[in-house]
């Protein structure tokens, strides 16, 4: 029945959490979405195997630090004109309202910090992108906890939890996080420039949002920093209980 009469089911089963989640998350069979392949899926499969055994039982010693992790890929990318040795792409990440009952504990951007194109070597990093006329500004990525940590030889992870607190509304009223994926080329070459414009960063830069289920961890929960409550779309659980 999912996808066909979800409204009717919602009214019939308003208190069944799993039914709610299925109605929200399960795509209809007829709406079979294209398989997400490549790096993001491989990354999440690794995360899964570190956190659960082959039967799906969560591992006792898992270090994930959250009960839910969402990987968000950029919806669009734009290659900027070449600036000396710098190759730059702007990436748009659509942010959606968090589901009630889940608390954001951390947000990171994961990206390839080493790229090889046409035998050329590029060193890459990610920066928040702010349009000139935009009034809301990011904090510097070079400060505090935003320094990238190397996950492996090929992946780097940078904490952007503070950035998520910003009100990132675009002119259409959607929440969009814009990041610049910047790669520095060791040797100049026209062939590489052409290759760069054809390179899609949609597969090599993505966001990870870590959430905890506040239904069961309400006693452990700390009050959210200002801004995260806005992102999650509700009051922190402790405030709600006090009220």
């Amino acid at each position: 029945k999912i996808g066909q009469s979800s409204i009717a089911l919602r009214t019939e089963a308003p208190t069944l959490p799993l039914i709610w989640e299925l109605l929200e998350e399960v795509p209809g069979k007829q709406q079979r979405q294209p398989r997400v392949l490549g790096h993001p899926l491989r990354y999440m499969l690794e995360l899964y195997h570190r956190s659960a055994d082959p039967h799906g039982h969560p591992r006792e010693n898992r270090t994930i630090g959250a009960t839910m992790v969402r990987l968000v890929r950029p919806s669009a990318n734009t290659a900027m004109p070449l600036r000396g040795p710098w190759h730059i792409q702007t990436l748009n990440f659509p942010l959606r309202q968090n589901r009630v009952g889940y608390q954001l504990v951390r947000a990171t951007v994961v990206y390839r910090h080493q790229l090889h194109l046409s035998r050329f070597h590029l060193s890459c990093h990610v920066e928040p992108w702010v349009q000139k006329r935009q009034t809301n500004h990011f904090h510097s990525t070079r400060s505090g906890s935003s320094k990238p940590s190397m996950l492996s030889k090929s992946w780097a992870e940078m904490d952007i939890t503070q950035h998520i607190q910003q009100k990132l509304w675009n002119h259409k009223g959607r929440r969009i996080l814009q990041l610049r994926f910047m790669c520095q080329q060791q040797k100049a070459g026209q062939v590489l420039e052409l290759r760069w414009h054809g390179t899609s960063s949609l597969d090599i830069v993505f966001l990870l949002f870590y959430f905890n289920d506040t239904h069961k961890s309400v006693y452990k929960a700390k009050a959210l920093p200002r801004g995260l409550a806005e992102f999650t779309g509700r009051d922190p659980p402790l405030l709600r209980r006090a009220r």
Partner: protein, 125 residues
């Protein structure tokens, strides 16, 4: 009047409670997400073992079944007062969670731990 009641409660017997194998217990059961019609959504794990509880509840609920006081009283009511009140049912007692990796409709990939998805033991209540 516990003493009076106790004297009227028959002890456990194979005759009334059925053979050992049909008594309330946990039964292993495995299903694939393909069978549930969710394989276009759930990437891992491939198989899911929800298990289930099945069997008759004994007329005298032994300690290991973790039955609440209410179930013991309901058994007595069924036995001594009114047989239209049913005996307690064999249902899951403890559950464990399952971790699932899935693809959402918008293409996001989600790791999520769902509570109470696998029955681990049974009780009569």
């Amino acid at each position: 009047q516990a003493g009076t009641i106790r004297s009227e409660v028959p002890g456990p017997s194979q005759e009334h409670d059925g053979p050992e194998s049909s008594q309330c217990s946990l039964h292993p059961f495995q299903v694939s997400f393909h069978q549930l019609g969710w394989d276009h959504w759930i990437i891992a794990p491939y198989l899911y073992s929800p298990n289930y509880c099945k069997g008759t509840c004994p007329r005298v609920l032994r300690h290991g079944l973790n039955s609440p006081n209410h179930a013991i009283i309901q058994n007595l009511i069924n036995e001594l007062v009114d047989q239209s009140v049913p005996q307690p049912s064999c249902v899951p007692y403890k559950y464990v969670p399952i971790s699932i990796l899935l693809i959402e409709a918008n293409g996001s990939i989600l790791y999520k731990e769902y509570e109470n998805m696998i029955a681990q033991s049974c009780t009569c209540r």
